[in-house]
Amino acid sequence: MVPSKFAYHKPTTLKEAIDLLSTHGDDSKILSGGHSLVPVLKLRLNDPEHIIDVSGVASMGGIKDNEKSITIGANSTHAEIANNAALKEHAPMIAIAASMIGDIQVRNFGTIGGSIAHADPAADWPAVLLAADANVVISGANGNRTVDIDQFFKGLFMTAVGEEEIITAISIPKSAFNKNSTYVKFAQPASRFALVGCAVAVANADGYVTEARVAFNGVSATPFRDGNVEKSLKGSVLNGDAIATATASVADGVSIMSDHFAAENYRKHMAGVYARKALSALA
């Protein structure tokens, strides 16, 4: 398993990285933790001529606890996120999802930026970021732009990131719903990616749900929030009955994936089971 020949660049600033991207365009690929890209290269599914390793770009690292949000540098590893105190407190589902990714080696290398850029529909990040109402900071030759997570995932391995752009950070609002959140996954037995991953974040006031965000990955080629479930929960007391009613037909109208581990009907059923599991944990 050896990749095709490539030139290796290791910029230390964002500007350098963007310049390299602009110069080499199509022929280049960004490398972060390498835990999706390196297998792709070794299987020769892709053969870029230039690899731009952004792991040395200091401004893309670190987790900042701001007043109204937490900013996760794109280079943050799954392990750093899983162990971050601010995230554990303000958005527990983020830390929980991180802790469920792969194994220790994967978590120590793989990054959140690399994962969402890769946009594997069975990855764990999409659901929690959708539920968290995250914003993705993307940088290019013309500076930074911020993309609402609802506009980020465009389909199977497709995102809003342009050819010559780099994800630099993910920002998580400190909100009531994020504070009360969790993530559960029904793992594919070989890869342990998600056959169904469900993230839920629920804000309550006076015992009633004021906002519910329920998102899935693994179920469909594009991760999604289930508006029907969210609407049904809003205004209710989050108890067994309300959960049962809200999750009676999860993922309705969504095009559902199918494989030899989980056919469409089973996946849909399990999406409901895992939505109930996640919501019950918050009830």
Partner: protein
């Protein structure tokens, strides 16, 4: 001092755990080149043209060989090592298995060209630039489909893809009549799915032609270096055997898949003489998935008939055995002599007939995989037993006990003669099941199972009581059954002047711990410290012709050969000792490393005798110097380990998720040299057997592509899928080998699979189903519950 029976830590583990193991791919020779194979991406395709013009000119490329070159060199391909004849006496169909195919690719991964370059990366780059034009043909992967008229023909001269058919046992008409007249008949149709061996070390081979000595060396990740040398020399390349050395260095697991002689081994050997440089080829994991011989792949219909009291009256079995695209080295033996012969099981079944159709398909070859035929036989019998118990409203444990063969020790009582060509060595089957029931707390379990009713969980218990034929094998017997090789073992015990001992064994360790357990035997029998013993294996230039390791044979056959040589050493040593002690040999006792004149304190140590043997100044007249003996041991019979496996599962009704809550294994492998190693073998075997039940299985699509050809999709069992195993043993010594051992390498895999599926079936007994296809995924169970 007794090493035998104690859990001595494995001496080889230090190098393995500290990363100092030396595997084939670790070996680097001067001037070495690297090979990358161009493989067919199609399961079935005519090769219209192969264009190497561009690739040949690429950086670092030394040479590219295609099928035209091997054809021109007159190389016919790799042979099959076991002949099975059709029922009508015709010889099996044995189409050639070329090293590089030039006319047609018959499975995904069939090699079309070998690209050799200075580095592997260069070879790989150039391999990508070899242009092959294909005419893609319809493919067939399923043996039932392959038998049908109009199915794609894998080989033009093999009608209906039938490699051979075969039967064994009582006349079918007699068996059918007994079934027709029986009080109860249990019928099952099931699939024992194809599994991929997945040794952690991918196959690797280095061919080296040394022009100075006119001699070839093949380093290869193999379970049997001598066998590879024999096949390579005598059948593939026509090389003089004394000019070929085959070395199997440290090998990272084989599970059967490294018994066989593979095309790549012959290619690197042949190629190294063409280019006069060594060639290394190491499989990528994706190549392992499509080129390592796979296991199982049976489609079976079986019937078991009972009288009104639950006594078994007859058994019939019809199996389609998928051979893949070519006959691998021992493939024909697996569904026949290693499977059909085991259908007596532990039961007194008076009438048995088994019929096999061996079928070619557009898939990777199938051959022996841990257990080889015996797991399939056990699955067949034990699924029938639990199903029959359920259908007749009988307790599955009682039904078995009632039908068990009575105990026999093989000494006072004759070995049990089966309806299917074997004579069991010794057996006492009741105790393993009774011990299992005790360990599981059977009555309590049934109460728990009842109590779980109405909750969201279903509990189930499954049994499997198995027998296996190991210690493979008496040469004359297997010769009569079609083996094109003997199955004895060799051992040389070489005593050095200082009394240290080197033992050369024809067995080959690839994880089993021979360097430890063999040394325990030697140290004990010779009365010397284990540290004074070194076990050497795997090099055909160092070791006498041996048959390698598979079929749980190493200790039973290889260990026995060592014992024979030790006896010779001690016999000669006694003569030297007698001379030194001025006593008669008959008056000497040997214990704890010294010969003592009986009734006196006069003695001489093993070290002094060894030194005298090599410095024979004061020496018995007429006795040759030296203390060094070789032996070949050919066993009198197979050995027959047996045991009882019990599985408890819990099924979550809402999700169909099955959890193995407990797994109990009581195995009888005869005498035990190192309990820890035996436990380890059982544990690993159980994981593999349970893995087949729950996780593993090759999935092909319509076009013959392996859908789950990576670890992203092929499910291997992992530690967190499994409970802590509860294991115990009974000991029924083998009466016909000097150590009384039966072999422990395969027991775990052979017994466990049906226990798991039976447990699932027990949990699902309210749902009116007859079978659940392996691997038992949550999706399948959910379909049953909600179907």
């Amino acid at each position: 001092m007794s090493y035998i029976g104690s859990s001595v830590k494995r001496v080889e583990d230090k190098r393995f755990i500290t990363g100092q193991g030396r595997y084939t791919d670790d070996i680097v020779l001067p001037q070495m080149t690297y090979a990358c194979m161009v493989r067919s991406p199609h399961a079935h395709a005519e090769i219209v043209s192969v264009d190497i013009a561009h690739a040949e000119k690429m950086d670092g490329v030394v040479k590219i060989f295609t099928g035209k070159d091997t054809d021109a060199a007159g190389i016919g391909g790799v042979p099959c090592g076991w002949q099975v004849d059709f029922k009508n006496g015709d010889t099996m169909k044995e189409p050639p298995h070329p090293l590089l195919v030039s006319d047609k690719a018959r499975h995904v991964g069939d090699a079309i060209a070998m690209v050799i370059a200075d580095t592997y990366a260069q070879a790989k780059d150039a391999a990508e630039m070899v242009t092959v034009e294909y005419n893609v043909l319809p493919a067939v992967t399923n043996s039932k489909v392959a038998r049908a008229d109009g199915a794609p023909q894998v080989h033009a001269d093999v009608p209906n893809n039938l490699a051979f058919d075969w039967e064994l046992g009582n006349p079918r008409a007699e068996v059918d009549a007994a079934i027709a007249g029986a009080h109860h008949v249990t019928t099952l149709e099931f699939i024992n799915q194809r599994v991929i061996c997945n040794a952690i070390e991918p196959r690797s081979a280095i061919g080296h032609f040394d022009t100075a000595y006119d001699k070839y060396t093949l380093y290869t990740s193999t379970q049997n270096p001598h066998l590879i040398r024999l096949l390579l020399c005598a059948f593939v390349l026509g090389l003089p055997e004394h000019k070929v050395r085959v070395v199997g260095p440290d090998v990272g697991g084989g599970f059967g898949s490294k018994i066989f002689h593979y095309t790549e081994e012959a290619l690197v050997v042949w190629g190294s003489n063409q280019i006069k440089r060594p060639i290394k080829w190491t499989a990528e994991r994706s190549e392992s998935f499509v080129t390592d011989a796979a296991g199982r792949d049976h489609i079976t219909t079986a019937k078991m008939a009972f009288d009104k009291d639950g006594n078994i009256l007859a058994l019939s079995a019809d199996t389609l055995a998928n051979m893949g695209a070519y006959l691998s080295t021992f493939a024909p033996a697996v569904p026949t002599w290693l499977h059909g012969t085991l259908l007596q099981g532990l039961y007194t079944t008076p009438l048995i007939n088994v019929s096999i159709d061996a079928v070619f398909t557009n898939t990777t070859a199938v051959d022996a995989y841990r257990g080889a035929g015996r797991p399939e036989a056990t699955y067949l019998l034990e699924r029938l037993m639990d199903t029959a118990a359920l259908e007749m409203g009988r307790d599955p444990a009682e039904l078995r006990l009632q039908n068990f063969i009575e105990p026999f020790d093989g000494v006072e009582e004759e070995g049990y003669v089966t309806q299917v060509a074997l004579q069991y060595d010794s057996g006492n089957y009741g105790p393993v099941l009774k011990r299992g029931l005790e360990m599981v707390g059977y009555e309590q379990f049934r109460a728990d199972q009842k109590a779980a009713e109405g909750t969201g969980k279903l509990l189930g218990i499954g049994f499997s009581t198995y027998i296996e034929a190991c210690g493979i094998a008496p040469s004359a017997v297997v010769g009569a059954l079609g083996a094109r090789a003997g199955l004895f073992e060799s051992a040389q015990v070489q005593v050095h002047p200082t009394g240290k001992v080197s033992v050369f064994s024809g067995s080959h360790s690839h994880g089993q711990g021979h360097e430890t357990s063999f040394a325990q035997v030697v140290a004990d029998k010779m009365g010397i410290p284990m540290e004074d013993v070194e076990i050497i294996h795997g090099d055909s230039d160092a070791v006498a012709f041996g048959m390698g390791t598979y079929g749980s044979r190493s200790l039973a056959v290889g260990g026995s050969a060592i014992v024979k040589s030790i006896e010779k050493v001690l016999e000669k040593g006694a003569k030297i000792a007698a001379h030194l002690l001025e006593a008669s040999v008959d008056d000497l006792d040997y214990a704890e490393g010294k010969w003592t004149v009986r009734g006196t304190d006069k003695s001489v140590g093993f070290g002094d005798v060894s030194l005298t043997a090599y410095v024979p100044h004061n020496y018995p007249e007429g006795l040759e110097p030296g203390l060094d003996f070789s032996s070949f041991y050919d066993p009198a019979n197979f050995t027959y380990p047996f045991g009882c496996h019990i599985c408890i599962v819990e099924i979550d009704k809402e999700t169909g998720v099955v959890k193995v809550k407990r797994f109990i294994a009581v195995d009888d492998v005869g005498n035990v040299i190192n309990p820890m190693i035996v436990d380890g073998q059982i544990h690993g075997g159980l994981a593999q057997g349970i893995g087949q039940a729950f996780c593993e299985g090759a999935v092909y699509d319509e076009s013959g592509q392996l859908v789950n050809g990576t670890y992203m999709d092929y499910v291997m069992p992992r530690a967190d899928d499994l409970p802590s195993f509860e294991i115990d043993r009974t000991v029924t010594p083998c009466p016909h080998n000097p150590l009384g051992v039966k072999g422990a390498g395969e027991a775990g895999t052979i017994g466990s699979t049906p226990a798991v599926v039976n447990a699932v079936m027990d949990a699902l007994k309210g749902y009116g189903i007859h079978d659940v296809e392996m691997p038992v995924t949550s999706q399948k169970v959910w379909n049953i519950i909600h179907g």
